[in-house]
């Protein structure tokens, strides 16, 4: 966690989003001590471990970005997966998620609610970003394509689009990313 903060990777990433619109909450910047390794190294986030911070409350360290801590807040996965998004009274609002693509200069946003299923979603993505995803199969993912659609779920894991039932996907998808085939190895595609 400390490592990532020093490099400030988010600031140098080539994306056009509103400033300060990353996962860290902008609320209440009460200084709090950063705990030592609250998360073990995962492939995407290489953190150095063991920064046993001193117990001084006056230290200027940011609160833990909630979305990145595994298993916090302590809510059962079942509950996380099954809580329907809030609907404003009398009307059903859309599920807007950001879509990024490797190499594209800016992100797009789409409303998952307007699609009835994966084929429609993929077609829309292909048109939006001018690529071809290829054929999806359970065993091999997207075969024969330079680009692969992936998404980040509520647990913060990156998943291949198409594996879970459509409703489960729309409920748990936080953002979409069209990855280059070479990067997406390990998500089951050639």
């Amino acid at each position: 966690m400390a490592f990532e903060k020093d490099l400030n990777l988010d600031a140098t990433e080539l994306r056009l989003g509103l400033p300060g619109s990353s996962d860290e909450s902008a609320k209440n910047q009460t200084p709090a001590t950063l705990r030592s390794n609250n998360k073990r190294a995962l492939p995407e986030e290489s953190m150095s471990s063991n920064a046993t911070a001193s117990k001084n409350c006056d230290q200027e360290t940011a609160p833990l970005p909630k979305a990145q801590v595994v298993g916090w807040p302590p809510i059962r996965s079942y509950r996380k997966n099954n809580l329907q998004p809030k609907k404003s009274e009398g009307e059903i609002s859309g599920i807007y998620v950001k879509v990024s693509m490797d190499g594209a200069p800016y992100l797009r946003k789409i409303d998952l609610k307007v699609f009835k299923g994966y084929p429609e979603l993929l077609k829309a993505l292909e048109e939006m970003f001018k690529f071809k995803a290829g054929e999806y199969s359970e065993r091999e993912g997207y075969n024969g394509s330079e680009f692969v659609p992936t998404y980040e779920d509520k647990d913060g894991d990156w998943m291949l689009v198409g594996d879970v039932p459509w409703e489960m996907f729309t409920n748990s998808c936080k953002k979409l990313k069209i990855m280059k085939g070479s990067e997406a190895r390990g998500l089951g595609c050639v």
């Binding site: 996962d23 909450s25 609320k27 209440n28 009460t30 200084p31 709090a32 001590t33 950063l34 705990r35 030592s36 390794n37 609250n38 998360k39 073990r40 190294a41 471990s49 046993t52 117990k55 409350c57 609160p63 833990l64 909630k66 979305a67 801590v69 595994v70 298993g71 916090w72 807040p73 302590p74 809510i75 059962r76 996965s77 079942y78 509950r79 996380k80 099954n82 809580l83 329907q84 998004p85 809030k86 609907k87 009274e89 009398g90 509520k154 647990d155 039932p165 409703e167 489960m168 936080k174």
Partner: protein
């Protein structure tokens, strides 16, 4: 007591129902042990790896009801890999081979395959009750087997399980001859059910008291079901979306009014908030209300609903109720004993979240409060001290501040004093979960005052080993201790290894304990299984004792190392 014939003692033991008491009874002398074991019908096993099915069967030949728990509690929060263990199949297999006449099986956090459900359904003629909580590994095919084969089934209760829904016709598998259902809960299933089959099943189940539907059951079916089962005591509504001016809605109003026995209401998995007035007639009798899956219900509509629920004893709600809504609860629900406030959006706490103010209001208005689960934006020491004064009867107190190391926002101090007040005031406290900025001091208080504490959950807290030592030395009745991301190391772990034999289990993840420390525990205590869970392959290549251990789970056991652990679990 030796001059009483066995039958008399047995009859006396019949009145002793609590597991703890029966266990105590069995320890008095050999003859009591013998009588107790032959007469025991209900057994609770808190950790399925602490004993083997064979030994269970050998000791309790009259077993009728078995409760098993598998994975450690932190598995609920994705801290335990999926195939860690907790498989029920070997248990069912062993019971099936024996002469045990199993009638009831209750499982929590276990892996249940369709195979096991099928075997279960075919092996026990008098099987009556299946309760699965937070389990996984089965599909609706397994449920079909239960429905089809358990001729005297009374209870099928599925709570928050991950079920692969094949959208088959499992409900239709209940034969026409099945008329014994008392409780049916399939709220956690995602797929469609055969609505006609459901209606017919309810029609022929005159004893049905508890019915919890899933999202796929529409309103007009609900209305038909209620007309056929006005004797319901517990209702879980699936979909509650409709047009308030429709005929269906009017029919529903009439149907609900006939259900004068409903005491427990849950579900609303899909809800149109402007139609809640149909529910008002039954609100006055409710003792349990669970709206924790209904984020569409908030603001004034929610408050109006709550205002009708004067007899509520247990309320499960989302934080979109807000502090103001909790104020309404405080004014209305004077009988409230249990409150659970869940986050409606765990990743982005919006304006709707609750703070310490809501909790203080509830504590002032609901003096019978004894059980709390509260997810909130922030908490202050002053609030906790007030709550401790208002409600000295807490048995369960679980506080989760969404930012886990947040101090008191008013004073910038850790929350040691606040939690200290809780443990000092609530002499009967059995379960405690901490959060917020906490130092060793809070653990000093816990060790000093929490004499009845049985389960403690700690995350991102403490400064040193002293914290853990205070707890291990002070809490004599501690059974389960689970710790994540705290600076507790080997000296705390090794201070009193004998203590762990008096507990069910200890979980430590992302702490400072080393491989060497864990090995030491395992060496000194052969009656413990010390498991290291490490998926990163570090363990394969680097067996340095000084290496920190990612996740350690140790538990007492009578049957040594388990044989079903996956490759990334090392049992020392």
């Amino acid at each position: 007591m030796n001059y009483f014939p066995d039958e008399v003692l047995e009859h006396v033991f019949d009145f002793i129902t609590s597991h703890k008491d029966r266990n105590s009874v069995s320890l008095v002398c050999k003859s009591w042990y013998k009588i107790e074991r032959y007469s025991r019908q209900r057994v609770f096993i808190g950790n399925c790896y602490s004993i083997s099915p064979e030994r269970l069967i050998a000791r309790f030949p009259g077993l009728k009801s078995l409760t098993l728990k598998g994975k450690p509690h932190f598995a609920d929060f994705n801290l335990v890999p999926h195939d860690w263990g907790g498989f029920v199949y070997p248990w069912i297999e062993a019971l099936a081979k024996s002469r045990i006449g199993l009638e009831e099986l209750r499982l929590k956090r276990m892996v249940v395959s369709d195979e096991s459900l099928e075997l279960l359904s075919k092996s026990f003629v008098n099987f009556k009750s299946l309760v699965l909580v937070s389990c996984e590994g089965f599909t609706t095919d397994g449920l079909a087997a239960i429905a089809a084969n358990c001729r005297f089934l009374r209870e099928l209760d599925l709570q928050e399980n991950e079920v692969d829904d094949h959208r088959g016709h499992w409900l239709s598998c209940f034969p026409e001859s099945c008329t014994s259902l008392i409780s049916l809960n399939f709220a956690c299933l995602r797929g469609e059910v055969n609505l006609g089959a459901l209606e017919r099943l309810v029609s022929r189940s005159p004893n049905l008291k508890s019915l919890r539907l899933n999202r796929a059951v529409p309103l007009d079916t609900l209305q038909k079901l209620l007309m056929r089962a006005p004797q319901l005591v517990d209702l879980g509504i699936g979909s509650y979306v409709h047009d308030p001016f429709s005929e269906a809605y009017n029919k529903l109003k009439i149907a609900i009014q006939r259900c004068k026995s409903i005491r427990s209401l849950s579900g609303f998995l899909e809800v149109a908030p402007h139609c809640m007035s149909a529910i008002y007639p039954i609100c006055g009798n409710l003792t349990f209300l669970n709206l924790s899956y209904a984020p569409g219900l908030h603001g004034n509509k929610l408050m109006k609903l709550i205002q009708h629920c004067r007899k509520l004893q247990r309320l499960w709600i989302l934080d979109c109720i807000g502090d103001k809504g909790l104020g309404v609860v405080a004014l209305t629900c004077k009988e409230l004993q249990e409150l659970r406030v869940f986050p409606s959006d765990p990743f982005e706490a919006g304006n709707a979240a609750v703070t310490e103010e809501g909790l203080v209001l509830v504590s002032a208005g609901c003096t019978k409060l004894n059980s709390l689960l509260y997810f909130c934006q922030q908490m202050t020491n002053a609030a906790l001290i007030t709550v401790a004064k208002n409600c000295p009867n807490f048995i369960r107190f679980r506080l989760c501040i969404l930012d886990p190391i947040k101090p008191d926002p008013v004073t910038n101090q850790p929350l040691d004093e606040g939690f200290g007040a809780i443990v000092q005031s609530c002499k009967g406290l059995k379960r405690l979960s901490l959060s917020g900025l906490l130092t060793d001091q809070v653990f000093l208080y816990i060790g000093m005052y929490a004499e009845q504490l049985e389960m403690l959950s700690i995350a991102f807290a403490a400064d040193s080993d002293k914290g853990m030592l205070y707890v291990l030395n002070g809490c004599k009745k501690l059974r389960k201790l689970e710790i994540r991301d705290c600076p507790f190391g080997d000296s705390a772990l090794l201070e009193d290894v004998g203590k762990y034999e008096t507990m069910r289990s200890l979980w430590m993840s992302s702490c400072e304990v080393t491989l060497g420390g864990c090995k030491s525990v395992a060496e000194k205590m052969p009656t413990l299984n010390v498991e290291i869970i490490d998926e990163s392959e570090q363990m394969e290549f680097n067996l340095d004792d000084k290496q920190k251990v990612d996740k350690m789970y140790l538990y007492r056991t009578l049957v040594g190392h388990r044989k079903d652990a996956p490759e990334y679990v090392w049992i020392l």
